[in-house]
Structure formats: C-alpha cells, structure tokens
Amino acid sequence: MSAADKNMIEEKPVEEEIQPVPQKQRLVKVKVDKRAKSLRVFSIGSTILFVAIVLVINLVFESLLGPTLKWDFTPTATYTLGDTTKTIVSGLKDDIRIVALFDRTSWSSIYSSFLSSYYVTNTSAAAGEVPILLDDYVKLGAGRISVEYIDPVKVPGIVAELDPDGVLGVKSAISGSYVVIDKTTNKSKIVGITEMYSLTADSTSYSYTNNGMSAEQAFSGAIQFVAAAKTPVVYFVTGHSEADYASSYSNFAKILSYNNFATKSLDIRTISTIPADAAMLAFLDPQIDISPAEKELLTAYVKGGGRLLVIAGYSPVAFPTLNSLLALFNIQITTDRLREGDTSLRYGGDPYTFVAQVPATDVSTQSQLILGGARRLEPLNSTDAWITATKILTTSAGGISEANGDANSPSAEATQVIGMASENKGWMINDIKSAKVIVLGSSALISDAALTQLGDYSQYNRNFIYYNMEWLIDASKNSLYIQAKTLPSYTLNAGNATSYLLVQVLVVGLIPLGLLLAAFLVFRRRRHL
C-alpha cells in the first residue's frame, strides 16, 4: 500500500465526522471507487495474463526450438559430432542407453578432481564438457540414444542393474564414468573419464598436459562396441618375453578399444588353433624366437586369411623361425641396429632416436614421426606376383645400419627399412581373405614410455599406428578415426616483462584512479547545488 493510500484511509473518518459528504460528492466518490476497483481488477488480470503468455512462449520455444536453435562456435567444434559418429549413429539398429554414474550438476567438481589427481598443469585451458557433447548424441540419435545421470550413492540399485554379475566393474568405476548399454542385447561398456581427455605426461615434472577432448572417440567407439553383433578380438601373443600390452602399450590398446576391438592375451605355446574371433595377432617386442610348432600354428592361421602384427625393436635377438614365416611375405627381421646419419634429423642429438620417414602408400599418407631403438628389416627379392610387400617406414637417405648392433661396422649411408606391410593373396580360395602382415622394427614407436617422452609429437605416431591397423584389418579409410579435439591456448605470444608491467600499472592504477578523480571533481562541482 502506498503512502498516498494510507493517507486517504486515515483521513477519511475525520472528514466524515467534521463535515458530512453531500449527496453529489458521495455519488462521485462511489464512481471513483468503482473505477479504481475495475482498474485494480484490470491490473491484476492483465499482469497474470501477461506473465502466463510469456511463460508459455518460453516453455514452447525451449522444448520445440531450443535444441535446434543452438550453434557450436568453438574453434574445434568441440561439442559437435563429426561425420564418423554420424555414420555410426545412423547405422544403429538397437537403442542405446548411456548412464552417467553421477549427477549432471556435479560434473565441474568431478572434472576439477580429475585434473588435480593427474597434476594437470594447463587447468585454465578451456575445458571440454562431456555432458554437453552427450547432448549432441541425444539430438543426433533422434530417440535412439538416451543419456541419464544417476548417482549410485542416491540410487544404489543402479550398480546391480547395470552390472548384475559384477564383470563390467561398475562398482569400482571411478567418478565421472559412464556406462554405454545396448538396450536390446544388454551388452555394455564403461567409458572412464581418463578416456575422455587426451593427456600427455611430462616425466620430469610428473605432471600431465591436457591436449584436448577425446570423448567423441571414446563414446562412438563404445556405442559401436555395444551395438556390434560380433566383437573382434586382438590377441597379444605371450610366451616369448613380450611386453605387457596393458602396462607398456596401453595407448595402443586404447586405440584398438576405441575402434570396437576387445583386447586379450594369448599364449600360443599351449593351443592348437588360433581362436576364431581373432581379428589380429600381435607380437609386442618379443625377446625369444617362436618354436617350429608355433610357426606351424601361425602359418595355418595366416593361410586362412589371418593378420599378424610384429613389433620388434632393436635387440641382438635373432628370429630365424619367425623369419621363415615372414619369408612368406617377403620380409626378414635382421639383428642390425639403425642410426641416422643426417644430424638434422636426430632427436636431442641422439643418432639412435630420429625422425623417420613415412612414405605415401596404401597404408598411410606421407608424414614423419620420431622413433628410437630401431632394427633394420630386409625386404626379400621374391618375384611371386601374389605377394605385395611395401616399405611403410624408413630412415632418410642418410640412414646407417650397424651390423649386429656393432657401431664399428656401419653400412654406407642409404635409406634403411624400419617398417613393412605385406599382403599375400596366394591362399585366397572361396571366402578366405588375403593374409596380411605388418612388421615394425621399433618398439619405441608406440610404447607408452615413448609416447610420454614425445609429448605433442606423439600424435604422428598414433596416427601412423592407427592407419596401420586400419589397413591390417581391412577397415575402410578413415572409417573410425576421430581426432582428439584440441583445447585452445590463451598464452600471450608478444610483449615483454616491461610492457606487461606498464599495462598492469595502467589497468590497476591509472584507469581506476582517473575515474575516482573524475568522481571527486564532479562531487566538488555539484556539492553546493
């Protein structure tokens, strides 16, 4: 009630007592009261109506047009799904349910904890928010993909619902994890927060750098994994002192996992046939040659259209039996160590760690990458037309081969072979595929230790190994390759300490003081007004 209203109410009885209102005046007052009442009703009614209309407009706009009228203007289209994902989603036959094991509102704190637990140094770089990206999956899925945020603390039953047998590991999944489920088959996969960002470690400071968001790779891979009728398996061969793929080649295993492959170990000494679900067998840096029985097993496997990857970095160990198998592909692994004669291509001045050349072939596009501890491969001079062996990784023309690793027995400078891909079509009968083999003479190409040391440069190694896998398993070009979305850097690239100091004085001192001075002058001029 306004002061004027109060005055009217308070003064009215006094006036009536002193001087009775004449009939004419009373009629006018009744008329005025009536008008005031109708104006009050109009005022309240119109306000309610106006607010209701605005509310309805907002609700309708938000629900019907809200998701459509939204544009991602981030430099790397961080929150927009790429063509590869569009292809995967459009090919979905089953509905996909994605369950986040946390409340959506707690994402920021989960992300901050994740960064601090990895001692990530560039915390202020723009963060990619996974829940926003998942909104685009829902939009793209058009009813086929749903995303729910369920905190297991509030809904304990969700753990048993998602992982009734406890094999998936939902109970022990770290904060920030999602579970991707095919609603028809109930096949599921956990996507952890560590898979959603591309971190590289700095071994000197024991900290990490966040290079970008790889959540699209992780979720599209998981969707394809759960929706696939069959999950091909990459078997990592054991029994020859190979490196452990889970601890020493986890980045490589991640690439495979993103691309719908399950990874398992396989001791070929104890089996008589290679499992039927094997998409590929991989030897990771073996230190012992295979036995003749194993050679028979592997020969039978490749003759049936099998695929083999051998990564054998430099060591004095010779592989005569494995070589007899690789001879079917015109490839031999030597015991020669490689170094780079061109000093400009050496990494950190080390002749054994250098920039290797990737020529343009059917396997990958032309590029360069850094590797170390390389062993020379020898292409065999077979004229069999059904074997196509290609050099996929070499030194520069200044490459030097040290016979049996002896630095005192160098070869002349020439292009040395580090990697070869070979296809043998000789056993293709009926529905048997061609046999394919890739041999890489450097284990430091894709090992976790090497990728950590290479930092940002490791992307070239990752790309190279990805294209190798794509060729080896007959995936169509770029069928699944989704680059991590880089985060922008806000570092200043010009200026020096003096100019920064001048600007600091300007913005903290001069400008605010100037404004305060203006305030003082205005005050002085107007204080007597």
């Binding site: 306004s2 047009l65 203007f73 039953g157 200043l492 690239n493």
Partner: protein
C-alpha cells in the same frame, strides 16, 4: 520514441553528473584490472573467464547501485508528478528510464573492451568464447536491470530499492542450491508415502525433475553454455521475457500509484 529518447538522455546524463557513476566504473575497472594484471604477469589472458569471474560483483553490487535511484529519486524529490503529468505515457517513461540504466550498464561493459584490445595487442587469443560471455553478460545484466528498475519503482527509499534488488539477485544465485534441496525433499516425501512400489531410480528421476522445475526460472544457469562457445536462442528469449515481465510490472506499479492518487 522522441519522448523515450529525451528521458533516456536526461537519466543517462544525470548518472554521470553525480560521482556514483564514476565510482561504479572505477570499482569495476579496478577489479577487472587486478585479475588481468595477475593473468598477464604469467603471460596468459583468457578474457571470457575474466569477465565471467566478476559477474557476481556486477549483479550483486553494481546493478543495484545503477538502478536504485532511477524511480525512487524522482519520488523522493517530488519530480515524479511532473513526469507523470508530462505528455509521455507510463510505458514511455519506464522504457526511457530502463534504456538509460541499460546504457549506463553498457558503458560499464564497454570499459572492459580495453582488455581484449590489450590481449590482441600482445598476440593473445580473443575467441568466440569471450564474445559468448559478453553476449550472456549483457543478456543477464539486462534482466537484472529490469528487476532493479522494478524495485526502484516500489519505494521512494533508494536503500530499500537497492536491498530489494540485491535480495532478488542473491535469491536467483542461490536458487540452484534451493532447487536441489526441494528436489531431494520431494523425492523423500514420495519415498515416505510410497504405496505404488516406486523404485530408487524413479525416485531419483522425481528429485532431478523437481530440481529442474524449481531451477527453471534461474537466469544464472542459462549462461553456462555461452561461456563455452555455444550460442543458444532460448536464453535470449528468456532474458527478453524477464525484461518484459519486470517492465510490465513496473508500469503496473506506477499506473496503480497514479489512479490511487486520482
């Protein structure tokens, strides 16, 4: 339109004819300056984060300072009657005064454009995220200014107007927390009287739906995506709606005063 422009000019100029305009600008530039100085000291500048870091200062302190006198001062000085008896309609008066405070606010925001310019001069990154933050900042500011104008129309006491305005902004800032409490209470209530065998999952959905419904009018959360480089039309429509509602209410308050006096 002429009348609106005349009122806008008069009120905008009056803001800078008193020390308050300069003091508000000095406070804001000083706070931004400290943040910016700290950043460039480490060879770094993220304008979007800088501007959004001071949202609370602007919305809680500066907007009430800008709006508190816009109507209440006229009432206190007795010049409101002159305004109301002028040929300008109440709508024109409210629009003119709102545009005046909005212009003052834009002057405040405009002052911060110095920082992107400096960052650009140091070959730093001024990206779409910064533009998004500015757009959101202007949108949200416009909404809170309308609330402030409404508060100022309610009373002749500038302090009371500022308190109403600050309380409203603080309420909106806390609504998210409040929403989550209400959501949990609702789910607890449904759980307590559960006669239909509702599962934990459904209860969780009740909690999140109630939380979302209570949080719906919260203008603060609508800016989140802008600061990440995502542009949406829905928040703009929302902010325009808030401005429209509060200016409509302001008109109603002034008209009520006019006819109750009549």
């Amino acid at each position: 339109m002429k009348r609106i422009r005349a009122i806008l000019k008069r009120d905008y100029a009056s803001f800078f004819r008193s020390p308050i305009g300069y003091i508000v600008l000095a406070i804001y530039m000083f706070l931004n300056g400290i943040y910016y100085a700290g950043d460039i000291n480490s060879g770094y500048s993220d304008i979007g984060t800088q501007i959004s870091s001071f949202e609370w200062v602007v919305f809680i302190l500066l907007i009430p300072l800008i709006t508190m006198r816009i109507f209440s001062e006229d009432r206190k000085n007795g010049t409101e009657v002159l305004l109301l008896t002028s040929p300008a309609s109440v709508w024109e008066i409210v629009a003119g005064k709102y545009l005046a405070v909005f212009s003052v606010y834009m002057t405040l925001v405009g002052g911060t454009l110095l920082f992107p310019l400096l960052t650009g001069a140091f070959a730093g990154r001024v990206d779409i995220k910064a533009l998004g933050v500015y757009i959101g900042f202007v949108g949200l500011g416009a909404a809170f200014l309308a609330i402030g104008v409404f508060a100022s129309a309610l009373t002749e006491n500038q302090v009371v107007a500022a308190v109403i305005s600050i309380s409203t902004v603080v309420f909106f800032m806390l609504i998210q927390l409040f929403a989550s409490i209400v959501g949990n209470l609702a789910s607890g209530l449904v759980s307590a009287i559960n006669i239909f065998g509702i599962t934990d999952l459904q209860l969780s959905k009740v909690a999140s739906d109630v939380t979302a419904a209570v949080n719906w009018p919260n203008p603060m959360t609508r800016l989140d995506n802008y600061a990440k480089g995502i542009f949406e039309l829905a928040p703009i429509v929302f902010f325009i709606s808030v401005v429209a509602i509060f200016l409509f209410l302001t008109v109603r308050v002034i008209e009520k005063r006019r006819w109750s006096q009549g």
